[in-house]
Point group: C3
Chain length 357, copies 3
């Protein structure tokens, strides 16, 4: 079950340097391209004639040509040519989806197209702002997106899963600073944790160029159904919070199917903006970290399938934020089922007080 009336990330903007991008979204195979007018188009990746994926054919100007019999379709899904005949069968159309480019992402609306209001796109402006520098990437995860939400809202796993990267191997330092969990506007869960005077994990001592004790804070944020941000702040204990190195880690999830997820991510920093080497070091570090999560998440998904059981089997304290987010998601699914026009305008996800003491 997926929330339908919401904007999902379909691609990074820069993927449209290719003729087209084909991707399964919410179990629907979609083909997307940027027309010569610079606007995006999204269609079912399916020729209505013999069910061939249009992505097995080719793009000709602003049309898609099927690779079997040469039928062509416009960005609006209209058939413009059936080789061998002049009349176009009225049933020869392809479904389209609203798609918009914003903040460096392509946002797609898989629900009722009459509700696709661009004002409902959440604010992710840091991703293409001159005041911030992004390190971006993509992971394909063979697990339901809720397992990723769980993972991202419960940062205590860092000690065990990421001890080589962002975890620090000292169990007490992270696991014993319980987060304060809050719910907001029936669509946001936040888990905020302060970790004063800790030994910096390898990743942070590298970026800070500092080996001594640091103050660190983390806020894990989930916007129903599947957008997540982790705010990460660190500074040496000798300095004050206003000087902190801050990162906004965008974890933008789009269900591919009930058992797989597109994971678009971007680590966005407010420091050392012009250092492209650092941008690349961070990108590689994050990619390795999420490789570690991928292993855990896919194993968990497989166990659930084999055993026919749900998680958590036994709830512990670190499940507080994940369970709250699951409840908001269930409510949203119910709301949408009861009222097919139900939409939610997302509030701002990162309040100003995140940036300083």
């Amino acid at each position: 079950m997926f929330v339908k009336n919401v904007w999902y990330i379909a691609a990074f903007d820069n993927e449209f340097e290719q003729p087209f991008v084909a991707r399964r979204l919410l179990d629907v195979p979609v083909i997307m391209f940027r027309t010569s007018d610079g606007v995006l188009a999204a269609l079912d990746d399916l020729c209505p004639h013999r069910l061939m994926p249009l992505s097995s054919g080719k793009r000709i100007d602003d049309e898609l040509q099927c690779g079997y019999h040469g039928m062509r379709f416009s960005a609006e899904g209209h058939c413009t040519c059936v080789p061998g005949q002049t009349n176009i069968p009225s049933a020869a159309t392809v479904k389209t989806y609203p798609i918009i480019s914003r903040h460096g992402f392509a946002w797609i609306w898989m629900g009722d197209p009459t509700l696709a209001d661009a004002d409902l796109i959440p604010d992710m402006h840091w991703h293409d702002s001159p005041d911030w520098a992004p390190s971006s990437g993509y992971h394909h995860i063979n697990a339901n997106f809720t397992l990723l939400n769980d993972n991202l809202l419960d940062l205590s796993h860092e000690t065990y899963v990421h001890h080589r990267t962002i975890g620090n191997g000292e169990e007490l330092s992270i696991a014993h600073y319980p987060p304060e969990v809050t719910t907001e506007a029936n669509c946001i869960v936040r888990a905020h944790r302060e970790m004063p005077r800790i030994v910096p994990p390898p990743f942070f001592s590298m970026t800070l160029r500092h080996e001594g004790l640091i103050n660190r804070w983390q806020v894990a944020i989930n916007l129903v159904p599947s957008l997540n941000i982790t705010v990460v702040g660190v500074h040496p204990v000798e300095q004050d919070r206003a000087s902190a190195y801050i990162g906004h880690v965008l974890h933008l999830l789009t269900p591919e199917s009930e058992t797989s997820t597109h994971y678009f991510w971007s680590f966005i920093r407010n420091y050392r903006l012009d250092e492209s080497d650092l941008t690349e070091i961070i990108r590689k570090g994050i990619a390795s970290t999420f490789d570690e999560d991928k292993i855990i998440l896919e194993r968990q998904q497989k166990q659930m399938e084999v055993l026919g059981r749900q998680v958590p089997g036994v709830a512990i304290r670190v499940d507080e934020a994940p369970i709250r987010a699951r409840r908001l998601l269930e409510q949203r699914l119910k709301d949408e089922q009861e009222n097919p026009s139900y939409v939610v305008a997302p509030p701002a996800l990162i309040p100003e007080y995140s940036y300083a003491q």
Copy 2:
């Protein structure tokens, strides 16, 4: 669903230089061999004792010996030896199928054996005639045979699927010469197309050794359920039709299962008969062409399975012959279901007027 009371191709004759040939036909695993008397035998590929394929054992003289306990079976399916005992259990028999060698092929009858009349074998004499030269091969296709029938009866796909080989990249030249489609004797569909004064596709300019305009004609013929012939004629516009280079392309399909097909093919020409180099060039060219079809057909089959839908989803003009053949096939299946003794004597597939103006 398969038509049962009909002769299918089981193998090329020359495959029987091996001790035996094992192949799944109409979902039945069959083992076949040529006895020392020169006649063919076909049995279920299954030892009745412990269900081992007989093809996992070995052939000893004109008998098959199971590889587990050494039980032996004759070409007639009788058990001739059970090691360790002298009496033979009456249930220790293996089902046999009528199988006949003709025109260089092994023809098998999977239906009621009492109806297996050799006179019902269609005429494919060109395949072993001194007046014709064959280039033969085999493709295994993971698609239902009806998708191959569709493909072979609708040659408009050549422009898009085979633009590197037999299609010529000029959409108008093929797609805009609609074929004349006729039905005959409730078991044959023909789609006949004349293409006068066209630029020769690469394959034909190579065989004709001629770069100028040509006259070309094609007749796609389907005999229910799964034998197809494409008659291809070409000659330079300066010459008359009686001098044409003619090819009969036999596309002899046998269902392996509901989702896979044995595709025995042979391109038979009436020109440059003694040139074995040309025979090999044609064989390679045809094999590459059918590799292109294989990709399309298997993708279509997979799409049908994933989507749970039939083809064509929307019918266009090029579907006329395929749809007629599908209707004849459905009627034949119904006839056989209503009358288990129903058989059809196939008329001649290629009339004399195919050879000249």
Copy 3:
């Protein structure tokens, strides 16, 4: 269906030099380790929190730590630590299984733990006796264990399956010496065969260092549900039976699932005890022989699944012992179903008269 109230082999003792062994037994994933006290522990390989296999985490002292959130479990299955909280949820326990080290094997009891009496462990003392020398190994077989029982109780297949190793290629020598089959104590089947004055198969002429005629005897023994021993005796015809080279081949089967089996084996000999080269030659020879069986058994399993049929389809004389063992197994399953406390104390499997004339 599996007999539950019985001791199965879970591992060789020497596998516990590793921190832990994870293995699916009777369809249950189990993790096992030897504690610092030297005793074995066996638990469900499953963290109750998020269903992760505990074998994806690590062992810390005598506890298992989950690799996702660091929860720890003792050898008794008690949760001893939940990072981030001091109270332990009462549901956070892991099921344990009785497990005992004996004769060089780890024996596990997957049934009612209150019935797990160590006296019910069958005698396999040769495996760690100074009077015998073992050559041991393990095969994973993708087939139900009853197909292995069948195979081991019917040694006539050696002629056809193992003609390169223990079979001798002379069909008459083995197949025509029918075994005497007896049943004992409702849980043992024996098939005893004497083969006087035969040409030695390659394996035996190698171990005996003798090319002339030999006397050979075999006793195939099955203890319900899945322990098998083959007693093999050979001596040159010129010598008497008391001098025979005797091997006890232990084939100790544990179902992994309905369609796969753990095959722990050990060839134990009473001759040339100190020759470690011979131990290794025998180990390699046996491994190759069982590779041949693996092919046959897995093909048979696959055929049964594809065809939806049971074996034997037709019974022949060599099936006498296998069919008797299948009947005892069915009776045992029925007994256990009717009386969940039903257990059987296994009698001695190899009587003294096996050793000499």
